[in-house]
Structure formats: C-alpha cells, structure tokens
Amino acid sequence: SAVISQKPSRDICQRGTSLTIQCQVDSQVTMMFWYRQQPGQSLTLIATANQGSEATYESGFVIDKFPISRPNLTFSTLTVSNMSPEDSSIYLCSVAQSPNEKLFFGSGTQLSVL
C-alpha cells in the first residue's frame, strides 16, 4: 500500500491566477496520475506524471494549462494555470505500482475559482 499526502486540501482562488497542488508519497512508486472530478461527475484522467520527463496528457488536457512536475519517484505537482470558474473541481493524485492495477488516492484538493 501507499500513503499519499496531497495539499492543499482546498482552496478558493481568483480567476486568472494559478494554483500548484502537491502530492507526496511515503514510498517510491512506479506510476503517478492526476485526475479531475468536476462537481457531481466521475473522474477523468488529466495526465500520467513521468519521472524525469514530460507528463503524458490525455485528450482534452494540455501542458500549458496543467503543467506537471515529477522530479523523483515520491513527489509530483500539478499546476492549474490561468484559472477560470470552469476549473472548479476536485483534483486527485493517485499512484500505482503496475499498469492497470489498483490505484491509491490522495485525499484530493477541492478547488473553487471565483
């Protein structure tokens, strides 16, 4: 298992600003992912955070809007840039040791953009 610390747990931000979310894992993990959950909706994968290289983004998500860093096997950040009210969501960090095996999730960041 893996214990994931995600912060901040929530934030209220102004339109046009950026927020960086941090994800710290208590052990080295092979795979790290960032998900978005819009209000009342299911989870959508934003990107896979790759250690030492650029993240792999899913369709509909771009690096300029959601830059991701992963400097090592235990830490990653997701930045939500130039925010608008449509970015109001829960953002979730998750990890796995093998492809398509069970995911461990952080507690999420609830973001509200005014």
Binding site: I4, Q37, S42, L45, T48, I90, P99, N100
Partner: protein, 111 residues
Amino acid sequence: SQQGEEDPQALSIQEGENATMNCSYKTSINNLQWYRQNSGRGLVHLILIRSNEREKHSGRLRVTLDTSKKSSSLLITASRAADTASYFCATDGGRANNLFFGTGTRLTVIP
C-alpha cells in the same frame, strides 16, 4: 466515450439490507475495479476482478463480472451506516495506464 455507466445513480436502503450496484462498460477489458468515495474525498480501492474471473468476494463485498454482457455488479451484504458513500467502477478499456471510471452510484444507508 469509454466511460462506464452505473445503475442506479442513487440508492437508499435501511441498515442491514443488501445493496446491489451495476456497472456496464463498452470495450474489452483486462480487469474491472470498484472504488468507494466518501464525501468528495479520495477514492479507496475495494476489489479488482480480472477478465477471466466471474466472481470475487472480499468480506461483505461480492463482485461479479460478465464479459459477454460487458457488465459487473457489486453487492454489499448486511449494509451499515458507514457504507454510505459513492461507489465507482473502473475499467482499463484494454489500454495500459488509464482507468475509465463509471458515473457512480450514491449509496445512502439509513440507520
């Protein structure tokens, strides 16, 4: 979209009753997983069933998988108030490195 659909969207039962949730998906899969989410927080993994398995148990949880119908069900027996949460199925869609989550079932267990 490869996203699964869950049925019902919401379910309310009395404590002690059984709760059944269904998940339908569209593509071939390697495995199907069920997760629980409490109050918009992080998800907790409940159970994984592989495409060559038909049924799996874990405590009060029973999961079935019918790949011919592209459907799965999650049964929670003898429900408790603490089981109140949203439940999501997730499939890999035959792809590596991506799980597609269903629309979720909101379960309320009334004490």
